[in-house]
Amino acid sequence: MTEKFSDNTLMAYADGELSAPERAKIEQALEGDATLASRLAAFSSTRQAASDAFKPLLDTPVPDTLKSSIEDMVARHEGASKPDPAPAEHDNVVAIASRPRFMGARLDLALAASIALVVGAAVGYLVSTSQTAAPPAGLMTADLSDPALVVALRTVPSGEERALEDVGRFRAIASFRDETEELCREFELDKADASTVVSVACQSAGQWQVRFTVVAGSANDGYAPASSLDALDAYLSAIGAGDPLSPDAEKTALQQLR
């Protein structure tokens, strides 16, 4: 008798996920069926226990430093017309007002991610005033011909963002050395057309060279989705990427470039 209700059905009942007719069926069967009631209780009591156990966390005061930092962040974003209070050396950081983003049906990003693998000098684009080559149209998604991007690669610490005029929003993700000990940086770029690209650029003969680019598509919440980054993982292992540099090590490495 009780076997006609699966565990999943009972769990869904305990979680309020069933329709009224489905609920009625279970409630009818519960009368006089202690085994069924006990199976159901296992689901409702674990829900209750988990909820009770985590309730005190909501009453734990949010640390003042965190709260004021978020409040500042909110004020910065909501008062987009106010002058940016950032110090002078950060004057290329602007509070980005919300911008229109791709709002269509959510794409299956794992499939939709168009992956452009840019390996080495074959299609890599050496930046130099003397040897500038035309970028392969449609492939170069992180165009190093833009001086602002080159500056950002040299100056923005990992974990920080810069809004780059005519380029988009630049996010430094991590710095590491490849197996030949060249300095590489992983970064993301939210481009003006609302696409996000994830790239790896490495130093070679004093120049930044884009080694890898994934067009992560237009995530509807604006960051490269984890699912589209498998190719990046594979690439990083292939080039023998070392551990991410610590903030201090990164600072030193970047300073040595200047």
Binding site: A42, F43, V74, H77, D221, G222, Y223, A226
Partner: protein
């Protein structure tokens, strides 16, 4: 005047911290993650769909940001402190009653769950998301949400001595 997006965000800070703590199991890492999440949320608030749950949308951003961090740090080795989740709360210095011991035991049992089971348990049973909302946050089908949730509940029940069918 309805609360602004930013005000709603601040109101949800305790919930964001709670989920962050469950993901990171480290108080400092949790606070960092909350910051990152709020920044991303503010930059991308135009993509939030009015009429849907803001907390679910934020949890999705948070979890993806956390996975991203794990991916970046995996070669460096992430230190996870299982005690962070159990010690952070409920210890107000008073004599521990049977009840507070039970709460601690429950938190410990949840902390020990595999990550994917814990995520879904926290979202559904603690943050009270629907299966559909949890499925959107985690980017997995509802069937997967349910099977992970059932496994998590069974483990929790057995640790806590709740025996079904007896």
């Amino acid at each position: 005047m309805p609360p602004t997006f930013g005000q709603q965000l601040i109101t949800l800070l305790p919930n964001l911290r709670r989920f962050a703590l469950s993901l990171t199991r480290s108080a400092p890492a949790a606070d960092d993650l909350v910051q990152i999440t709020c920044e991303k949320a503010l930059v991308n608030q135009a993509s939030f769909t009015e009429g849907t749950r803001l907390d679910a949308w934020l949890f999705r951003i948070m979890r993806n940001a956390w996975i991203d961090q794990l991916r970046k740090n995996k070669t460096a080795g992430v230190s996870v402190d299982v005690d962070a989740l159990t010690d952070i709360t409920g210890d107000d210095g008073r004599t521990q009653t049977e009840n507070t011991l039970m709460l601690k035991a429950t938190r410990a049992a949840i902390a020990e769950l595999p990550d994917d089971q814990r995520d879904v348990l926290v979202l559904v049973c603690i943050e009270e998301l629907t299966y559909q909302e949890a499925s959107d946050v985690l980017d997995v089908p509802i069937g997967t949400v349910m099977s992970r949730l059932a496994r998590a509940r069974k483990k929790l029940a057995s640790v806590l001595g709740i025996n079904p069918g007896q």
